[in-house]
Symmetry: C2
DNA sequence: TAAAGTTCGTTCGTATGCAAATGGATTTTG
DNA sequence: CAAAATCCATTTGCATACGAACGAACTTTA
């Protein structure tokens, strides 16, 4: 009979201590801040628009990989951005499977107008930490991706 | 004309550096580990069952608050756990709005059987970090909730 | 005690997010 | 070159998530 079995509390499961629970709660707080400070776009819509502005014309799946969304997810996001006129699709001449996605003039304007707010959202999310803690936290978080 | 306006790149938005993007990717990796190591239950279902086992009979909304899910979300989770026979509801005599939720015998058995796996999932998620880094990371993450 | 406020559970609508399957197009390889 | 593998976009099904609104029940307060 080993020690762990004598004291069941020693290796008990405590939800509040699990990294998955804390990640979910931190994400919830971040998304709540995002919605308050940038109500026009969801966090994933903004990320997709920003990446598309940065990359230029890109196929839908390649864009999805760039923003860490699978094919089924990026389709919905791209459809909603297209429905709002922020993104447009043009067929690829060389590869008949592909459509190039690109930001419209409207889409680029929205991105230019909201990028500062997005940076402020990052700042507000990290506000409970000081500069050193932020650097440490982001460095460790990056290792967990 | 201030410095920031001269060098637009200095305060440019880079998706990969934003805490929201990193939180989303870390959560994705964690959930992927969860699904692999504990395919029977989703992460939220396990969290709910675990908390219910810990708290004993609880109203649905109170349980939701304990696991950080709003009323609409906890309802779906509770419904699916009830459909699988892991949770049952009994009406409250004192408050006719309320149903007490509690884990069934089956539910408690599933929890006992899977709690170790859940701890292992936390370990695997944090595997890229050493012990000191884990302590630092969790302490900082907790400040962001 | 009556009005106001709160809480309970529920429903609707919208938006991720992923697994799995599909069909068509392109590339790789034997 | 033909078969195999890969890639593209799409669809279906399921499971979170949250805002908003709702009626019913309970509590607080004026």
């Amino acid at each position: 009979m080993q020690y762990e079995f004598k004291d069941k509390a020693a290796n008990a499961y405590k939800l509040e201590e699990q990294v998955g629970f804390l990640l979910r709660r931190a994400s919830q707080r971040h998304l709540s801040i995002f919605t308050q400070m940038l109500p026009d776009l969801t966090s994933t819509q903004f990320a997709t628009l920003a990446k598309l502005c940065e990359m230029g014309p890109t196929s839908q799946n390649a864009l999805g990989r760039a923003v860490a969304m699978d094919a089924a997810t990026i389709k919905g996001v791209a459809d909603r951005l297209r429905a709002r006129g922020l993104v447009e699709a043009t067929p690829d001449e060389e590869d008949r499977r592909r459509h190039y996605l690109s930001a419209t003039e409207d889409g680029r304007a929205v991105y230019e107008r909201t990028a500062q707010a997005a940076l402020a959202i990052t700042g507000e999310t990290l506000a409970p930490l000081d500069a050193d803690e932020i650097a440490t936290f982001l460095s460790l978080l990056r290792k967990l991706c």
